[in-house]
């Protein structure tokens, strides 16, 4: 797939975002803009609120104050359109352990197919081969190692045509080769005019346009 995204396809903004968990303010007055070509890494110590913010940005959680805008419209007012333009990959990979990688991937791709993506069986097999799962396509996922299971979920990134990627700790459990594959994928996405928001304790070397958002002071300091 020769990727390339329209120059104004991504426009996600947060305005004066405030988020509390159990009476502890995780972040406040947070302003944020993500446009085409951006790569934003959310950084910060354990418990700073990276996952929390990422889930807000992905639209999975409405428990915040302030505004989240997609093309200047409140995110949850145009959620269907937003959903069709971003892919979210969390800690959990939505992999059914009794099914094979190919069956799992087929389900993962179904919303995109419904939205008009043409996909052949070959594409699926190729995506799995790309994440080094060639030969395991028909092995039930419960027989795969921790890293192999994560790769099944990641293989989706090779197929999905969404301009915005939202990834939570995607490097977890990946070996060196897996890490470099993913880094390259991210780089390609940004180069093609897409955007990526990522949380990771990993350094993300070698990607030029990287922007870091350092979240919060150490969480312990906020204690009462």
């Amino acid at each position: 797939m020769a990727l390339s995204f329209a120059a104004d396809s991504v426009s996600l903004s947060a305005r004066q975002l405030l988020c509390e968990r159990d009476d502890r303010v995780l972040f406040e007055n947070l302003d944020l803009d993500v446009r085409n070509g951006d790569l934003l890494q959310l950084a910060g110590p354990n418990g700073a609120g990276k996952t929390t913010l990422l889930r807000l940005l992905a639209g999975l959680n409405r428990d915040y104050e302030g505004d989240l805008l997609w093309h200047a419209e409140p995110l949850h007012d145009c959620f269907a359109e937003y959903a069709a333009n971003r892919v979210y990959l969390g800690h959990l990979a939505a992999i059914k352990r009794a099914l094979t990688p190919i069956e799992n991937l087929r389900w993962l791709m179904s919303p995109w197919q419904n939205a008009g993506l043409e996909l052949h069986e070959d594409d699926l097999w190729q995506a799995l081969a790309e994440v080094q799962l060639g030969g395991f396509e028909d092995t039930p996922c419960n027989q795969l190692s921790a890293g192999q299971q994560r790769r099944v979920g990641l293989s989706r990134l090779a197929l999905v045509p969404a301009p915005l990627w939202i990834l939570d700790e995607p490097f977890t459990a990946l070996d060196v080769e897996g890490v470099s594959w993913l880094e390259e994928r991210i780089q390609r996405q940004v180069a093609a005019g897409g955007a990526v928001i990522i949380t990771s304790h990993h350094a993300l070397q070698g990607i030029p346009s990287l922007r870091r958002l350092e979240l919060g002071v150490r969480a312990t300091e906020g204690r009462s």
Binding site: R97, A98, P140, N142
Partner: protein, 257 residues
């Protein structure tokens, strides 16, 4: 003697040996049980006299009783092979146990089914909560429990062990269950319908029954062996001796994999 036992044990534990040996048995088992059944059925249906009370309907006994007997011994076989697997880690035993479970359950179902069919003309009802019937039903539940557990556990080895543990616990419980059900029944149930008191059977009825029992045992053995051989083929599929088997080699050549 001890030496011989040890050798036997090692042989029994060897899938290759089992496969090759039983390969020669299959045909004989099939022949014997087939002929036995034929003889038993012909004798039972055509030559045995009709029962003076039940008429011809009693003839279903030639299926019912063998099936009931085998359902019970099947559980023993399953539990004992499970124990052998647990204690000596002999894989063959686990495969045998797994092969027996659905077969035993099937015979159990057959016994229940034929019993029910028989019950209608004799008792006027398909089912009563008689001690024998009830404990047969519970045996079916025990079989289903073992099978469901084996199915549910992902890891192959763990599923064998879990099945073995459960069937052993069940084995310890079977006498308790049987006893309690008998006790319960004698307390609650007025003795209106009884199949426990066996009238002394006429030899013309008895002999075909005995033949049928033996033949059904042979059939059961045959089925267990066939299923076990299937397990062997699957688990040892990558070993060279399998790939060199004439029947397998021919398929590999034929491109069927």
């Amino acid at each position: 003697m001890w030496q011989w036992l040890v050798r036997l044990y090692h042989r029994l534990g060897s899938p290759k040996w089992f496969y090759e040996l039983t390969g020669k048995w299959i045909i004989w088992l099939a022949l014997l049980s087939g002929v036995g059944m034929l003889v038993g059925v012909v004798m039972g249906l055509l030559f045995a006299p009709a029962d003076y009370q039940q008429g011809d309907s009693f003839r279903i006994i030639y299926i019912h009783v063998p099936a009931a007997i085998i359902a019970q011994s099947g559980y023993m076989i399953m539990a004992v092979s499970g124990a052998i697997f647990l204690i000596w880690r002999m894989k063959m035993a686990a495969w045998v146990a797994r092969a027996v479970a659905p077969l035993g359950a099937s015979f159990c179902l057959i016994a229940l089914f034929t019993g029910a069919i028989w019950g209608k003309p004799t008792w006027g009802t398909w089912w009563v909560w008689d001690a024998r019937l009830t404990s047969m039903l519970i045996l079916l539940f025990l079989y289903f429990g073992v099978m469901a557990l084996q199915r549910a556990i992902e890891s192959e080895d763990a599923s064998h062990k879990a099945g073995a543990i459960l069937s052993l616990v069940g084995l310890v419980n079977i006498p308790i269950i049987k006893y309690s059900v008998d006790w319960w029944n004698t307390l609650h149930q007025p003795a209106t319908l009884k199949l426990t008191e066996r009238p002394p059977m006429h030899p013309d009825m008895l002999i075909p029954l005995l033949i049928m029992i033996v033949a059904t045992y042979l059939l059961f053995a045959l089925l267990v062996i066939l299923r076990t051989r299937n397990e062997i083929l699957w688990h040892e599929r990558k070993r060279s001796w399998i790939q060199e088997l004439p029947e397998v080699a021919a398929r590999i050549k034929g491109g069927q994999r």
